[in-house]
């Protein structure tokens, strides 16, 4: 039974819209997320470039101006600490460290989490059970205890901080990816791929992974602020990077000690950290709404 299709219909040929393009449009329409992204980029850029433009180095002490509040004098816009070091430069340098730790630790924990979760989900059975029990065990270990032990034994070091944070932040990702993999594995389009004779490995890489990317991006954007916060907590407890190198957590720790006499010392690094965390969280929300609009 032939059926007629009007010419006007056959000529409509809209451009292809990938789910990624849709997600980008939804993201761009989200004001809060977009503004957060811009602010985050500004913060990162300032931390990167700022210290070069400043007349002070982060470990220079100004013997004449110790522990003064914000002033135009000698460009100490954020004031100085009790050793006369410029707080603006130190905040920017601290930002470099905090953001770098955030990015590096997130990279490590995301790679580990995705690989772990995907393998557990795909292979299933005993392998899955074994791998997920390891995750459960790691959840049960208090990470601060381990962090204190590692720092005590191995000393304070930037890469050690990254390693410690990574080691205890990949389990969420592993669980989420495993769950998603299990649900994708049972989807009819995977069965359809098997029905046309696609080998297993190709199914994993060209049919399952693209469907995982959305949730991985969402979780990554949520992991970043968590990791930055963890770094601050470790630093605040004196387990972060070694003086005179600094990070936001270290600066807040120092500021908290002299909160009554020199309150600016906690204001500025505190504000920088808070702003960054807010923006990162808004960004994460925006990512989630853009990539997974049904959960709203």
């Amino acid at each position: 039974m032939p059926y007629l299709i009007p010419k006007s219909v056959t000529e409509i040929a809209p451009a292809a819209r990938s789910p990624w393009l849709d997600a980008r449009q939804r993201f761009v329409r989200n004001r809060a997320a977009l503004v957060s992204l811009v602010i985050l980029m500004l913060i990162a850029l300032t931390c990167l470039v700022g210290p070069w433009l400043s007349p002070h180095a982060y470990d220079d002490t100004d013997w004449n101006l110790m522990g003064i509040g914000p002033t135009w004098d000698h460009w100490h816009l954020f004031g100085t600490d009790e050793l006369g070091r410029d707080l603006l430069v130190r905040t920017l340098i601290g930002g470099r460290i905090s953001l770098t730790v955030g990015v590096l630790a997130t990279l490590v924990s995301v790679s580990l989490g995705v690989a772990w979760g995907a393998v557990a989900g795909f292979v299933g059975g005993k392998v899955d059970a074994f791998m997920m029990r390891i995750v459960d065990i790691l959840y049960a270990i208090p990470y601060l205890l381990i962090a204190i032990m590692m720092v005590t034994i191995l000393g304070r070091d930037f890469y050690l901080v990254v390693l410690t944070i990574s080691a205890f932040s990949w389990m969420d990702m592993a669980r989420v990816v495993r769950g998603q993999t299990l649900s994708i594995k049972s989807k009819e389009y995977i069965e359809a791929a098997r029905a046309i004779g696609v080998p297993t490995r190709r199914i994993i890489f060209s049919h399952v992974v693209p469907n995982l990317l959305g949730i991985v991006v969402i979780y990554t954007s949520i992991t970043v602020p968590g990791v930055i916060l963890t770094e601050s907590v470790l630093s605040f407890l004196g387990l972060g990077v070694q003086e005179p190198m600094t990070s936001w957590g270290v600066l807040i720790h120092d500021g908290a000690n002299v909160m009554e006499s020199s309150p600016w010392m906690i204001w500025f690094p505190g504000a920088a950290l808070t702003l960054t965390l807010y923006c990162a969280n808004f960004l994460g929300d925006g990512m989630r709404d853009a990539l997974d609009p049904k959960t709203r």
Binding site: M1, T10, A13, P14, A193, G197
Partner: protein, 350 residues
């Protein structure tokens, strides 16, 4: 074909005594119990039955796609090779290229993150080693064949940009890319509305004529069967209740279950009186009755039906070409003549 000398009838696909079992926490579930049928090149075999009668599992067993806890025994001969004995790798050379499957729900059977082009050309690249450009060209031709308007520009789009009917046609096109000898269509129209159903069925018929493929059509819709099939199997509880040519099933149905199915179809011309549903519900496949699986719902059942599984036996029928090609068989203890009386007259309990 070269390897067909094993089977004297040269059937394209010969299924013999197929059993499908699933190991579950509640014990074994018997989904298909001793199913046998043969398909010739270019013909359409319909399998009808309620949900859980084993029709979909039959198709999945042929494709080697049973769930992990499922096991198929018996034999499925495709051109002299027993598909059940093939390894996953050997099976991958048959699946898609010689036996293809179209799935029930076009909404979920296409990968949302891949363009239609990538999904369609994959099978050509795998089985025929075609390069992207050639594969794309033949994918566009196939989309044209299933009457997707503006195929050349639509091929780069994602599944969500197609309507349900169009997606079903894309799925058919995907299944037919390598010009398989057999297409397994598992309820290809269930997820579509009636007008689109008619279009897709008409399309299936056209494609079959053009390409000479054999179609195994699984459905619970007798109307679909009537329009398309040469041969029909009526399944219940994983067994064949009745089989024969489509004409036999619709005009001379002699099994209580087949009659029950026919009695439950609404007719648009208002004939046939009120609809007569079959009382009760399909059996639990984990605890099948020891006798005829339909006995608990059958008006004519008696002690024999409860205790013994009836064998599938030939039915005498008027001589015709159809009857010779598709001999009618049924599995029922009650003689056909008795079924023409109402259950009460014969004294059976309900």
């Amino acid at each position: 074909m070269s390897a067909s000398d094993q089977a004297p009838t040269a059937a394209l696909l010969q299924v013999q005594n197929l059993q499908v079992q699933f190991a579950t926490n509640d014990g074994p579930v018997y989904a298909v119990n001793g199913l046998s049928f043969a398909m010739q090149r270019g013909e359409t075999l319909g399998i009808v039955g309620e949900s859980g009668s084993g029709k979909s599992q039959t198709a999945l067993a042929i494709m080697g796609l049973l769930a992990r806890n499922g096991r198929a025994t018996g034999s499925i001969d495709y051109q002299g090779r027993n598909l059940l004995a093939l390894s996953e790798q050997e099976l991958n050379t048959v699946r898609g290229s010689q036996i293809a499957m179209a799935f029930q729900d076009p909404m979920t059977a296409l990968n949302p993150y891949l363009t239609v082009e990538r999904q369609m050309t994959e099978t050509l690249q795998l089985h025929k080693g075609m390069d992207r450009k050639a594969a794309r060209a033949s994918a566009i031709r196939m989309l044209d064949a299933v009457k997707i308007p503006a195929a050349a520009s639509r091929i780069g789009m994602y599944p969500h940009e197609f309507s349900g009917g169009m997606r079903q046609r894309v799925m058919l096109a995907m299944a037919l890319m390598c010009e398989p000898a057999i297409l397994l269509a598992d309820e290809p129209t269930t997820a579509l509305d009636v007008t689109v159903q008619a279009q897709v069925l008409a399309l299936l018929g056209d494609l079959q004529k053009d390409m000479g493929i054999a179609i195994l059509l699984i459905t619970h819709d007798l109307g679909v069967i009537a329009g398309l099939c040469d041969q029909v199997l009526v399944m219940y509880g994983g067994r064949v209740m009745e089989q024969g040519s489509a004409a036999h099933i619709f005009h001379h149905a002699s099994h209580p279950y087949t009659r029950g199915l026919l009695g439950a179809i609404a007719r648009i011309d208002g004939q046939g009186g009120p609809l007569l549903p079959i009382p009760g519900s399909p059996p639990q496949m984990a605890q099948l009755p020891s006798g005829c699986p339909f006995a608990p719902r059958c008006a004519w059942a008696d002690g024999l039906c409860d205790s013994q599984v009836p064998a599938l036996q030939d039915i005498a029928q008027a001589q015709s070409e159809q009857a010779l090609r598709y001999p009618a068989r049924r599995a029922c203890h009650r003689p056909v003549e008795l079924l023409n009386l109402s259950p009460g007259e014969e004294g059976a309990h309900v």
